[in-house]
Structure formats: structure tokens, C-alpha cells
């Protein structure tokens, strides 16, 4: 190979990377602008809503909260108590004990005075069989509660059983260890009720990080910024994801993910498409993609909504080990979902969904880590060939670093001007400082986990199956 060919190849690479970086940055700028617009609109709209009416109304539609639990014995009673104290009137709670090996069921039976009842389940979606059966409380104070004990089948399977059991029009699928604020259901149900132009098939909520927050009796008393740097970095990441990214995508009606930790679905459509997929680790993303696909295929106008209010709080991983395995799983979930629904990508038949959402997800979420690794390898090759043009390399690096800070700051602004959860003096500066160091703390680890996820997905099929059991806290997806 002569030098001119090498140079040409390098040149092409060079321009490809430039193009990629440029489009990443542009997409972020565009998404930020859209989200800012949408946030302002949302705030305006909700400045005079009277939630009291809807919450007290017995005419309001019924909602079933489905919370799968696997070996959650430690906090289960407390968590269920919190789920039962929601202010919405017309709702019930189904706890699906997914073959827990601990004493979760016994604890629930004692705490809520449960007794076994006969209950006919219409098995619209095939699930693992019941184990001890269906339980309800003898105490009328807990009449909203139902506990179902089944053989282990994974989170998706447990959710499917919940779908079969629910008699409500809507289901709220949540992680049992999440803390829901009392007004969560009424705020989340609103998009279903107010939309008249299109059918709302699902509404997603924001996940906020509860580490270091003061929680008493299942209620959030005080919001604090945790000391742990990894958790702090995740807070910033979540703000960016939820306040900038998802807000913008919901505006474009291109939202592909609703966090498994908290989302409300139209039950009939969820069942019609066959419920959650038990063969993927990314069941929360997969079901939305499938529901959207279904709606596109039957040609009905639809919408996936999103509520940016801080309604659901959960514990984020504090150790790198758990964090890496969580992100590894998210990566595999994304790959599986995108592969399963390959047909949608770049297919004009699916409108925005096929032409923008899917490709965006494929290129900027699925392939980005791989492109980054190739970039690093490319750089090393250049180093060896002594071909590095330092003024380009350094200025590019600096620019992308500054941009990442800038986006974090925009997310912080969104938070400050809307929900303003971190009120304590001095926190503002800490958060800004955090945006400067966050790229060094979180990004390398996320990149590493994503690569591990890819390797595990393609070369290590056993892990894929071995990990189906829920691991508690870290299972709340929100990529």
C-alpha cells in the first residue's frame, strides 16, 4: 500500500468522524431547543390545572398499579404502604411476587392481614403459573391491595400476569422499590384524558434519584444532593436525559422508551400486542416500540406522552460494579429491541417513528459507543503513523468537552426554572462544577459497560439468560 492510499483512507475516516461529531452536536442543540420550548408550553398549561377535581372524582378512569417484586423482603411492606397512599380515588395495587426465594410473601401476609382468595385469571398473555395463589386483605383499609404469588419468570412475565389480572382501563407498571408521590397517578393519567386528536397509548414519567433524600414512612420529606460522586454524576445524567432528551422526543411524538420504573399504559393495547416480551432484558423499551409499531400498522393516530414532573424517585447504584452491570443490561436491551424491530428503521411507512426515532436511536445510542471505540483505535493508528494533527485533535476534544458541559448546564437551567428540587444554598455551584467533571467520571464507565454489553450480547449468550432474575434497585431502566 503506498502512502497516498493510506492518506486517502485516513482522510475519509477523518471526514466521517467529523460528520458524526457534527451531527451529534447538532442533534443535541436541536433537541435542547425543542425541549426548552416544550417545557415552557407544559408549564404554562399546568399553571392553572385543578388536579383536585380529577383526583376525587369517582368517574375518573380506573388504574391498576402493577409492581413486580423479586426478593424484596427488606423493604416490601414499607414500599407497598407507600403505593397504597396515593391520592387518586379509582385505583388498585397488584403486587406480583415473582417466585421470590425470601419471606416477602409471609411479610406481606402478616403486615396486611392477607387471605387467599379464589380468583379467575383470564390468561390473555401466557405466563408462568401461580405458586401460592392470589391474596387479598381482610382489613377493608387495604381493599385496594392484591398480592399474587407466582413461579419465577422474570420481570416481564410478572408484569404480564399483572396485565391479565387487572380489571382497569389503564395500568401503571412500576418497580416496587420506587417511591411514588401522592399526586403521581392523577398527573400521569391526564394526557390520556385530555387528548382528543389521537389515541394516547402510554405515558412515561421522570425518574429522579432518591439517594441521600430524607424518606419517612414511604414519603419523600427532603431532597438532598448525595455525597457519592457516581450518584451525583447520575443525577446530572438523568436531568439531561429526562428534561432535555425525552421532553424533546415527546414533542416530536418520537419517544421510544418509557422507563420500566414508572409508566402508564392503555391496558387493552398492551394486551393486544401480546404484553411484555420475556425474551429480552430491555422489556420496557421493547413494549413501547411494539405498541407503536402496532398502531402504525393498523393506521390509527396515536401518541406516547410524557410528564416531566418529578413524581417517581428511586435509588441509583452507588458502586461501580452494580452501575456497570446495569448499563451493560441496558445496552443489551437496546440492541435486542432494535434488532427485533429492524423492519421499522428507515421505513417511510412508519413515519417519524421509522425515519427519525429509530435511526437516531440506532446511530446515537446503539452505535455511538462502537464509533467511539473505532475513533480511539483510529487515533492510536495515527499516533503510530505519526500522522496526528494535534491542532485538530486537541481543538475537537476541547470543543466536545465544552459542549457536554454546556448541555448539562442547559439541563440544570431547565431544572432550576421548573421544578427547582435542589433548593439548598451552594448546591447550584456544586452542580455546575459537577457538569465540568462528570464527563470524566461517568462517560468512560458508560463506554466500558456498553462495550461489555456488546461483547456479552454477541459472544456470551449464557449471561443473557442467567440474568433474567430481577436484581432489585438496579433494574430501573432509564437509558
Amino acid at each position: 500500500m503506498d502512502t497516498s492510499t493510506v492518506n486517502l483512507i485516513l482522510e475519509i475516516f477523518h471526514y466521517l468522524f467529523f460528520l458524526f461529531t457534527f451531527s451529534v452536536i447538532t442533534s443535541y442543540v436541536v433537541l435542547s431547543l425543542i425541549s426548552v420550548r416544550e417545557t415552557i408550553e407544559y408549564r404554562k398549561k399546568n399553571s392553572f390545572v385543578n388536579y383536585k377535581d380529577i383526583l376525587s372524582s369517582t368517574i375518573s378512569p380506573s388504574i391498576t398499579i402493577i409492581a413486580p417484586a423479586y426478593n424484596e423482603s427488606l423493604n416490601i411492606v414499607e414500599n407497598v404502604r407507600s403505593l397504597l397512599s396515593n391520592h387518586y380515588v379509582n385505583y388498585d395495587v397488584v403486587i406480583v411476587n415473582d417466585g421470590s426465594k425470601d419471606d416477602s410473601l409471609e411479610k406481606l401476609i402478616t403486615a396486611f392481614d392477607l387471605e387467599k382468595i379464589e380468583f379467575i385469571i383470564n390468561e390473555k398473555i401466557k405466563t408462568q403459573p401461580l405458586r401460592s395463589g392470589v391474596f387479598k386483605s381482610k382489613n377493608p383499609a387495604f381493599e385496594k391491595l392484591m398480592v399474587v404469588d407466582k413461579e419465577n419468570g422474570g420481570k416481564a412475565d410478572a408484569l404480564n400476569l399483572g396485565l391479565n389480572i387487572s380489571k382497569s382501563k389503564y395500568v401503571a407498571c412500576i418497580d416496587v422499590d420506587c417511591l411514588l408521590l401522592e399526586d403521581a397517578l392523577q398527573k400521569m393519567i391526564k394526557p390520556f384524558l385530555e387528548e382528543t386528536e389521537a389515541k394516547v397509548i402510554a405515558t412515561g414519567g421522570v425518574i429522579r434519584i432518591a439517594n441521600s433524600c430524607k424518606i419517612k414512612g414511604g414519603k419523600l420529606i427532603e431532597v438532598n444532593l448525595p455525597k457519592n460522586l457516581l450518584v451525583q454524576a447520575q443525577i446530572l445524567e438523568y436531568l439531561r436525559t429526562f428534561l432535555l432528551g425525552r421532553m424533546a422526543w415527546s414533542r416530536l411524538n418520537g419517544l421510544l422508551v418509557i422507563s420500566g420504573a414508572f409508566g402508564i399504559f392503555d391496558k387493552n393495547i398492551a394486551i393486544e400486542v401480546g404484553g411484555y416480551d420475556t425474551n429480552t432484558v430491555g422489556e420496557d423499551m421493547e413494549i413501547i416500540v411494539r405498541m407503536r409499531r402496532h398502531m402504525e400498522e393498523i393506521g390509527e393516530k396515536y401518541k406516547v406522552s410524557y410528564i416531566p414532573d418529578p413524581l417517581c424517585w428511586t435509588e441509583a447504584p452507588e458502586s461501580y460494579k452494580i452501575f456497570i452491570s446495569q448499563r451493560n443490561r441496558w445496552t443489551r436491551g437496546t440492541i435486542e429491541t432494535l434488532r427485533k424491530h429492524r423492519k421499522i428503521g428507515f421505513n417511510p411507512k412508519y413515519g417519524i417513528f421509522g425515519l427519525i426515532s429509530y435511526p437516531y436511536w440506532l446511530i446515537f445510542e446503539r452505535l455511538a459507543p462502537l464509533i467511539e471505540v473505532i475513533g480511539i483505535i483510529y487515533f492510536v493508528v495515527l499516533l503510530i503513523l505519526k500522522q496526528v494533527r494535534w491542532e485538530y485533535a486537541l481543538s475537537f476534544l476541547l470543543l466536545s468537552y465544552l459542549f457536554s458541559i454546556l448541555f448539562s448546564i442547559v439541563a440544570l437551567y431547565s431544572e432550576e426554572l421548573t421544578y427547582h428540587q435542589y433548593k439548598k444554598k451552594g448546591t447550584g455551584f456544586k452542580l455546575i462544577l459537577l457538569s465540568a467533571i462528570e464527563p470524566f467520571i461517568l462517560h468512560p464507565v458508560i463506554l466500558y459497560s456498553a462495550i461489555r454489553g456488546n461483547i456479552d450480547y454477541y459472544f456470551n449468550k449464557t449471561i443473557k439468560w442467567g440474568e433474567m432474575e430481577r436484581t432489585g434497585l438496579s433494574s430501573s431502566s432509564s437509558s
Binding site: 372524582s57 369517582t58 391520592h87 380515588v89 383499609a141 401522592e182
Partner: protein
Amino acid sequence: MNKCKIVLAEDNSTLSLLLKFRLEREGHELLMAKDGKMAIELIENHSPDLILTDIMMPFISGLEVISHVRNKLETQVPIIVFSSAGQEEMVLKAFSLGANDFMGKPFSPNELVIRVNRLLA
């Protein structure tokens, strides 16, 4: 009528103030809580002669306050609950937990005074 100690749990500060003013003029002593958590603290520390509580409150609901008073503290101090329109179900629950009377919002403070005095008589 004797001077009675009343705990008032209500998250609307204006209404609280209004009722405080009104009931103090009747000669009662008012202890104010702006949420259920504070209400329970006040009840435990001051053992009031009457409790007025809203059902919907931040942190701990009025229902939980009633249940705490009747089941944990095991006192029979009279309790009046406030509820908004459409919360019939909640009101029934409040009664089954041991509330003595209820006032549907919006209500007239004068009517409340009459009910308070009747329960304290």
C-alpha cells in the same frame, strides 16, 4: 365553656388562620399543623381535647392521623375531618377509622364552630 386545646391540621395556611382566629375568639387554644407529620407530633406532645384534620395533606394524610390517634395512642379524643367534594369514599373510611364528624369543603366556619362546641360540650 371551658378553654379547650384543639389541634388543627390543614395545609391551606389562609384557612388555618381563619379558623384559628374564629376558634380562639370562642375561647379555645389552637395548635396549628401544616401537614400530617406535624399534626401527629402536636397530638403526641399536647394531648388536645379535639382534633380537626383535613384528609388530603402532604406527607401523612388525615386518615393516617386518625388511625394513629385511635390505634397507636388509643385515645378517644373527638376528631372532625374536612373533605373535599367527591371524597365520599374517604369520608366513609374516616368514620370507620373512628372520626366523630365531618365537614365537606367548602364549608362555613360558623357551622364548624357549632359542631366543635357540640362535640366539646
